[in-house]
């Protein structure tokens, strides 16, 4: 059981490594944000879940931590993506469709 948990943690660490590699390789901000959010969230969840298996006595705090990461990280990346779109960070040239630009009135500033 402990060994399984340790291997889970190792997989989590590898996923975090993939997140950082993806951060280097992806072509524009939104793709980097996608890779970064997903891989880092799952990497952390895997690592902490592995620690739950290694040491079941700590389950309470670790589960709370997993819940916390799962709740906050997507929200922060959503807010960041929204800000990036608003300050007109360009999408990559390989983009095929941009539906948001059509209804761009959603993003008009009210004043200023």
């Amino acid at each position: 059981m402990e060994l399984v948990g340790a291997i889970f943690t190792l997989i989590g660490a590898l996923v975090l490594l993939v997140a950082s590699i993806g951060l280097i390789r992806m072509p524009d901000v939104y793709n980097r944000l996608q890779v970064g959010t997903k891989a880092s969230t799952l990497g952390t969840i895997f690592s902490l879940f592995g620690l739950v298996l290694v040491n079941p006595g700590w389950a309470g705090k670790l589960i709370l931590l997993i819940f916390f990461v799962m709740m906050t990280n997507p929200v922060s990346s959503h807010v960041l993506a929204r800000a990036a779109y608003f300050i007109k960070i360009p999408l990559t040239r390989r983009t095929v469709v941009d539906k948001l630009k059509v209804s761009d009135s959603a993003l008009k500033v009210k004043a200023d």
């Binding site: 709740m71 906050t72 929200v75 959503h78 807010v79 929204r82 500033v109 009210k110 004043a111 200023d112």
Partner: protein, 229 residues
């Protein structure tokens, strides 16, 4: 030219620091004072499992009082400097997702702050950290609902009340117990449980409330000064 003088100065300072580094040979055991604090009978007298808390609240309690006073003065000076009447500004609407998440997270964050300063004598943390966490809940509220007015009067009252109770509890130690900030004025409880260590968790709770409201006031002042452009 000027930079080279500064560089020489920095190098001289660095040599001085290297002297300190050279003279340092890692500690093998505790210093005499720390040994006194870590003795079994002294730990059982104070009953705080977290020795840092024991040092901060009882042995060096007056320092903490002075520090809280300094924070209060900082908050007062900043309020004096930056006081502006808040005007309406047009901000971009927050994302609905973020507002909902903030509504979910604010109670949990406040509860985390309370946990941190109530358990100050058992786990790492205490009044200052718990106060900082509560202040970050307040800042999350400010960010998520910018149209609500920041209620600085409430925080001022909370801060004064908890500061007064802190001083009263400390003075009560001098009257009933054996000295200023003596922690044996309430029943001690059993070592290592939540209800133990006498008056330490109570004092730390009030320190936490005080620090939290002071930091919230500072942040609220910095937010209010935004609006005069």
């Amino acid at each position: 030219m000027r930079n080279s003088f500064i560089l020489i100065l920095i190098v001289a300072f660095g040599i001085m620091l290297y002297g300190l580094f050279d003279a340092f040979s890692g500690n093998e055991q505790l210093s005499e004072l720390a040994k006194y604090y870590a003795q079994k009978e002294n730990i059982e007298k104070v009953q705080a499992a977290n020795l840092v808390t024991a040092v901060v609240v009882t042995y060096r309690g007056l320092d903490t009082l002075g520090e809280v006073t300094i924070l209060f003065l900082t908050a007062a000076i900043i309020g004096f400097f930056l006081h502006n009447k808040e005007e309406k500004r047009f901000l971009r609407e927050n994302s609905e997702i973020f507002i909902t998440a903030a509504k979910l997270l604010i109670p949990i964050i406040i509860l985390l702050g309370v946990y941190i300063f109530i358990n100050g004598h058992l786990t790492p943390g205490g009044g200052f950290q718990g106060g900082a966490v509560i202040a970050s809940a307040v800042i999350l509220m400010i960010l998520a609902f910018p149209e609500r007015e920041f209620n600085s009067k409430f925080f001022t009252y909370l801060e004064s009340a908890s500061g007064t109770i802190f001083v009263l509890l400390a003075a009560l130690g001098a009257i009933i117990g054996s000295g200023f900030l003596d922690n044996a004025i309430v029943p001690m409880g059993t070592f290592g449980k939540l209800v133990s260590a006498g008056v330490i968790p109570i004092i730390y709770s009030f320190v936490g409330l005080k620090v939290g409201s002071e930091l919230s006031n500072i942040l609220g002042n910095f937010k209010a000064v935004q609006s005069d452009n």
